[in-house]
């Protein structure tokens, strides 16, 4: 039963991913991308990571997509969608097909190894996913967390400086 649901969600993900790269109008692409993000959030729930699913929907499908849609509508790009909208299709298809073949062969023949932790689905259920994430982030990954805040500050300043008419 679960595998059927997985295939259904995978199908919807891949079809909306295809729509992202094939739709002529950028607004349609953006809406298909929102659909892809929702399907990926479903995958995260199936992988016992509900907090990541919530973050996925809030940050990606909420904040980033609103930003992208705002810029699409601000720039009024609907008019140029009737012209040719792709270039170099043949070489790009060859390149991405090669990448796909390399990736699938690696996945099929490779072995997943690595340092095993002790967080099982049972731990996630009993302790809670948010608490586990918080514990790891504010103990082991405290320095990267602080650096990420500096990165966000730099991005805010950079965006304001770039988008202003006269600094």
């Amino acid at each position: 039963m679960e595998i059927l649901f997985f295939y259904l969600v995978a199908f919807v993900t891949l079809v909306s991913g295809l729509l992202v790269i094939r739709c002529q109008s950028p607004v349609n692409s953006a809406l298909a991308l929102v659909n892809t993000f929702f399907c990926l959030a479903v995958f995260y729930v199936m992988l016992h990571a509900p907090f990541m699913a919530a973050i996925q929907i809030m940050v990606y499908a909420g904040a980033i997509m609103v930003l992208i849609l705002f810029v699409i509508m601000l720039l009024n790009l609907g008019t140029e969608s009737r012209q040719r909208y792709t270039r170099g299709v043949v070489w790009s298809s060859i390149a991405s097909l090669l990448m796909l073949i390399v990736a699938t062969v690696t996945i099929k023949t490779g072995q997943v190894t690595g340092a095993e932790g002790e967080i099982t689905a049972h731990t996630v259920k009993s302790v809670g996913h948010t608490e586990l994430i918080g514990r790891t982030m504010f103990t082991e990954f405290l320095l990267p967390f602080e650096i990420a805040s500096i990165l966000l500050l730099v991005a805010i300043v950079g965006a304001v400086v770039l988008a202003k008419k006269e600094v």
Partner: protein, 100 residues
Amino acid sequence: MIGVYHYMTVAAILFAMGTYGVLTRRNAIVIFMCIELMLNSVNLTFIALSRHLHSMDGQIFVFFVMTVAAAEAAVGLALMITFFRNRESIDVDQINMLKW
């Protein structure tokens, strides 16, 4: 039971799709969205592997990928607005001012 390989195959196909979009599309915002698609496929791989290895580290990495994607969205879209102000278009074929 769904193995980690199922998720990784879906992520690989999504990543290849994103590559195709980045290479073929002319609209800079659509290229940007295809990059987001590639970032998300990598996120799916991270979370599937962190579940497979019973570890939390992959999910923390996804957190940082999302932070970088948000910063990239803000700066990239500001760049596009600036470019549109100069050229009245965001076709990447016309972005050749730094070429020589």
